[in-house]
Amino acid sequence: MPIVVNIDVMMARRKMSAGELAERVGITPANLSILKNNKAKAVRFSTLEALCRALDCTPGDLLEYRDE
């Protein structure tokens, strides 16, 4: 899929662990792992909003389009 989720980059910038982010966003570590590994088929706006709030960033910082 040409949409890449750059959560790990933002997590590194904010020095936040996966467990802490999952807790702040309100998703399970397993689902966060699916997002991090680009296995997700879709992201809900509510999840994106919670991620942006927790990582203090915009959706553009998290999502990237790469032409394959």
Binding site: I27, N31, L32, I34, L35, K39, A40, K41, A42, V43, R44, T47
Partner: protein, 145 residues
């Protein structure tokens, strides 16, 4: 009368086992059963042959139905394995239809069975297509975070 899901599943499983027993009895007793049922001696050999040829797909169908019901009991229905089972059932019914159609050239009653088996194959094929789409939808839903 509306059965609960569990009772309905149990009824289906009992029916599958009953049909398996009937199939086993037919396979073992075909040379004796058909002369008793049919009163035209000329076609007994045909019916015995058709029974043996269609017993294999019938056995596969019953096994697949058994596995499908087991997965339904385990609440694990939307899987690729179940799609493959329905596909196998559909092809087995088509194979049985071919066998009956072949026999129909010698006794036209078998054409009726062939038509019924072909129609059942079509129904199962449509169900397989629907289940395949449902599996894809579930996968998408599971991976929506």
């Amino acid at each position: 009368m509306k059965l609960s899901n569990d009772k309905s599943l149990l009824l289906s499983r009992v029916c599958v086992w009953m049909f398996a027993l009937i199939l086993a009895a037919l396979v073992v007793g075909a040379p004796w059963i058909w002369p008793f049922v049919l009163h035209r001696t000329g076609i007994v050999q045909l019916y015995v042959t058709v029974t043996y040829l269609s017993a294999v797909p019938a056995g596969v169908v019953l096994f697949c139905l058994h596995r499908l019901l087991a997965s339904a009991a385990a609440a694990d229905v939307f899987t690729d394995a179940n799609v493959a089972r329905l596909r196998a059932v559909s092809w087995c019914l088509a194979a049985a239809a071919l066998v009956y159609a072949g026999g129909g050239f010698f006794d036209w009653y078998l054409f009726v069975l062939a038509a019924a088996a072909a129609f059942a194959a079509l129904i199962v094929r449509v169900l397989k297509n629907v289940l395949a789409e449902a599996v894809e939808l579930k996968r998408e839903n599971d991976y929506t975070i």
